[in-house]
């Protein structure tokens, strides 16, 4: 009778995520690597105490489920439906006492402070315009598609080989600024005109030498011809 009631309730409220449904999804897609009840195995980490924060990040970016172990998780097409993801997050959150999904407020941040924080902590790998880059044995992803919540989560988790930044290193107020800056890099105003992919001084230098210098030589030739002619 009780079970019937629960089922009835679930039918009535299909939008409410439940850990019970999540456990089923977990059994289908996750248990092979992460082990029963998220205890972790030799090939995948434990999910106890990672909280809704980590589950939300890995599932909504398509980082998990991973095609095979040993790969760097990358942003990819979502395999699970939105409902399945909601349920799974509720289930992973119920496995321990992890942090909840953060609610950043980038509009409260300061763009200039954000750029400073980004340049100090992130630009080394992700490049100052957040176009991504390389480190040995890993690929720091471009942040063009990252949402405010995903950025806030990634900073606290440190996915794959990215370092993690505690609230002591980057307080929430600075995190808001940081997100505001990243969002700005997603749609910069390109005041100089042609953005050249925003990947730094090398293409800019090439354009300067090949186009700018050639134009200067042309001007000199014109001036010279006028003087002689």
């Amino acid at each position: 009778m009780k079970r019937l009631l629960v089922i009835a309730l679930l039918l009535v409220l299909p939008g409410v995520a439940t850990a019970a449904n999540g456990k089923q999804v977990y059994g289908r897609y996750c248990v092979k690597c992460h082990g029963p009840n998220g205890a972790g195995t030799s090939i995948a980490p434990s999910l106890r105490n990672v909280g809704a924060l980590a589950a939300d990040f890995y599932l909504r970016t398509g980082y998990m489920p991973l095609k095979r172990t040993g790969l760097q998780p990358r942003r990819s097409r979502l395999l699970l439906s939105k409902e399945q993801i909601d349920d799974l997050i509720a289930y992973v959150a119920s496995l321990g006492h992890g942090p909840p999904v953060p609610k950043p407020h980038p509009e409260a941040g300061n763009l200039s402070e954000g750029q400073h924080v980004f340049a100090t902590n992130c630009a080394g790998c992700h490049q100052i315009m957040a176009r991504g880059g390389y480190v040995t044995h890993a690929v720091p992803p471009p942040l063009g598609d990252a949402t405010a919540t995903e950025i806030a989560e990634a900073v606290r988790i440190g996915p794959y080989v990215m370092p993690r930044f505690s609230a002591k290193q980057i307080p929430d107020a600075q995190l808001n600024s940081l997100i505001r800056y990243v969002q700005w890099t997603q749609k910069p105003d390109d005041r100089g005109g042609w953005s050249l992919g925003r990947i730094g001084p090398v293409p800019e230098g090439l354009v300067t030498w090949f186009f700018g210098a050639a134009a200067l030589v042309a001007v000199c030739l014109v001036i010279g011809r006028r003087l002689h002619g």
Binding site: I43, P45, G124, V135, T136, H137, V161, M162
Partner: protein, 328 residues
């Protein structure tokens, strides 16, 4: 072409003509120059300004208290050259009378022509009323510029080389963050990268900045010179890459050790990769020697302190970098 030859010829005549300066009749070749004392004064003043600016170069070079030295060094040389050029322009335009030679003549053995030229050159100096002062200005500007050009050679050593070995790190010196707050061992978490500085020292100094990370004690393989340099799994290295001196700002910190690349400190310039668990040894990239490591200890209040100086000279390598160690 013709102009260049004239210039060479007049130069030669000037030199030769000086030796056998014949008494010349008082008749002038050129109309008497309109002497322009004001232009001359301006030229002399500009020359001395050039000398002053060029003299500033060695002063800026040697006085360490001056901030933004590079910019001031550039400014001093730039202004000196600018003033010198201006002085020469003023002198050429308004002080020295000009006479163009359009006529070609065969070189040598025309004594009359030579004399004529020598006369021209001599008279072209008549525009000066204070020859001596102008010469003094010219020599002091040229001399000061010459000295300024040579001064940077001092950097080759042996005078300045001491700095390469010296660092502000001493036994007992506390580690502070960029806001001068002492770093506590309990604040240093695994998988995070921290930058630290010596308390009360110049953060800009080459040997100051550190990268600090915490690793599981069981993963550390510190041996030889750096044995026991960690404090409860916390290790500290110089932040300057030993290849080209860029700041080590990348930390490869695996979330799940069995499946992911080992922890590594990476330099963003040329991807030199150092193993923080193994005394900063090079695992990839162009760096030729390990990151210098700083021995750490935790004091009674839980704060991090240095236990001495680095085991190796900090910063990019140079000829003979392995000959000496920093004094403890």
């Amino acid at each position: 072409m013709g102009k260049a030859r004239d210039a060479l010829l007049s130069g030669a005549v000037l030199l030769l003509g000086r030796r056998r300066r014949l008494p010349r009749p008082d008749a002038h070749l050129l109309p008497p120059p309109a002497q322009q004392p004001r232009a001359e004064t301006a030229a002399i003043a500009l020359l001395f300004l050039a000398a002053l600016c060029a003299t500033a170069f060695p002063v800026i070079y040697f006085v360490d208290a001056i901030p933004a030295k590079t910019q001031y060094l550039g400014l001093s040389i730039g202004l000196a050259l600018l003033f010198l050029a201006a002085a020469l322009v003023v002198a050429a335009q308004s002080v020295i009378p000009t006479e163009e030679l359009a006529h070609e003549y065969p070189p040598d053995e025309h004594e009359a022509d030579e004399e004529y030229l020598a006369g021209l050159v001599e008279e072209s100096g008549k525009g000066f009323t204070r020859r001596g002062l102008f010469k003094l200005g010219l020599f002091s500007a040229g001399g000061a510029l010459g000295v300024a050009a040579l001064i940077p050679a001092v950097s080759f050593g042996p005078l300045g080389v001491k700095e390469f070995y010296g660092t502000p790190w001493r036994k007992g010196r506390r580690l502070v963050d960029e806001n001068d707050m002492p770093l506590r061992a309990s604040d240093i978490q695994e998988k995070a990268l921290y930058t630290a500085f010596p308390e009360g020292a110049d953060k800009e100094e080459q040997g100051s900045a550190l990268v600090v990370v915490r690793l599981p004690r069981s993963s550390l393989t510190l041996s030889g010179r750096v044995e026991g340099y960690d404090a409860d799994g916390i290790v500290a290295y110089s932040k300057l890459c030993t290849h080209a001196g860029c700041a080590i700002s990348l930390y490869r910190a695996p979330l799940f050790a069995p499946d992911e690349p080992r922890p590594a400190l990476v330099c963003p310039c040329h991807y030199s990769t150092f193993d923080p668990a193994d005394g900063g040894s090079v695992t990839f990239g162009p760096a030729g020697r390990p990151l210098p490591m700083l021995p750490l200890s935790i004091d009674g209040k839980g704060e991090l302190r240095a236990r001495g100086n680095f085991d190796d000279p900090v910063g990019p390598s140079w000829w003979g970098v392995r000959e000496r160690r920093p004094s403890p």
